[in-house]
């Protein structure tokens, strides 16, 4: 299977809305062995000036990987998921993710580079919080590179 070089520059619009709830923040925080009270205790989060529980710094990966799935599962992309290796990851937070946020992600394919028999694909998710009037506030930009190993790699 070969990676479609025309993927570069492609975008996938925001699909489903991700509702951030308190129990998901607590579950994710426990799963990364976080103990900071701002992830668990609403009063502790409010004491730091936040309106509700604060998500851990890598929580946005849930939303980003859902967005990435649109690309990985796109039959035109030619990506074999069992040969995907995560190469790098970055989160830039324009503001923290908080319980109660309604988030959407727009996916952009920023780079496709042939490597051996495989390819390195760089994607960027722009994550926005939806306001009451469907306004969009920038929350987090994630970038990620995946290496799709070729045969024998």
């Amino acid at each position: 299977m070969t990676i479609n070089p025309d993927l570069q520059g492609r975008s996938y619009p925001a699909a489903e809305v991700y509702d951030v709830d308190r129990e998901k923040i607590r579950e994710f925080a426990r799963a990364v062995k976080a103990t900071h009270p701002a992830h668990f205790d609403v009063d502790a989060a409010k004491a730091l000036g936040h309106t509700d529980l604060v998500a851990p710094p890598t929580f946005a990966i849930i939303i980003a990987q859902r967005a990435d799935a649109q690309l990985i599962e796109d039959p035109e992309a030619g990506i074999d998921f069992s040969r995907v290796v995560h190469a790098d990851q970055r989160f830039i937070h324009h503001r923290p993710i908080l319980a109660g946020d309604r988030l959407v992600a727009e996916l952009h394919v920023d780079g496709v580079r042939a490597m051996g028999g495989g390819a390195m694909i760089t994607t960027r998710s722009e994550i926005f919080a939806l306001g009451a009037d469907d306004s969009k506030e920038p929350v987090t930009t994630t970038t990620s590179s995946i290496l799709v190993r070729g045969e024998g790699q």
Binding site: A31, K33, A34, T35, H36, P57, I61, V85, R90, F91
Partner: protein, 145 residues
């Protein structure tokens, strides 16, 4: 208490911690994150795709390593930028039913750079498992008051 920008200098250590990992932890992370790739929980599948065995999610390692920074900063929202490269997998052996961890991850952090204009400190993390650096360029930018 949050650290004060004026009391920091490049090269200063912010501390270290040890993270013990079991196969159960990987199952919990899979459920919490939605990443159910079987290389993180199924030995047969992992060895079938030419891995030496079950490996931790890179995002588990990245996400657990940053807790050192979060706790030091005093507010998880202070981490405004966090990045890493994944260089080596963390092998997690099956110790189910025993009190032993399947892997151990050692995390330590130093102040890499201070930006007075932005009021931020870059913390450089060293993350090691089984004697090998598993993350490279693991950098967290922290906004300080």
């Amino acid at each position: 208490m949050s650290p004060s920008f004026n009391e920091l200098s490049a090269g200063q250590e912010i501390g270290s911690r040890t993270i013990q990992v079991t196969r159960t932890d990987l199952v919990k992370y899979a459920g919490a994150s939605g990443d159910f790739n079987p290389i993180h929980w199924n030995e047969t599948f992992a060895t079938g795709v030419e891995l030496p065995g079950v490996i931790a999610h890179g995002m588990f390692t990245m996400g657990s390593a940053v807790q050192l920074v979060t706790d030091w900063a005093g507010d998880p929202a202070a981490v405004v930028d966090f990045q890493t490269r994944f260089t080596k997998p963390v092998m997690v052996t099956d110790t189910t039913g025993t009190a032993e961890p399947g892997a151990t991850i050692e995390v330590s952090g130093t102040i890499g750079k201070l930006d007075a204009d932005a009021g931020t400190a870059r913390v450089d993390l060293t993350v090691v498992s089984a004697g090998q650096k598993v993350l490279m360029k693991a950098q967290a930018v922290v906004r300080l008051s």
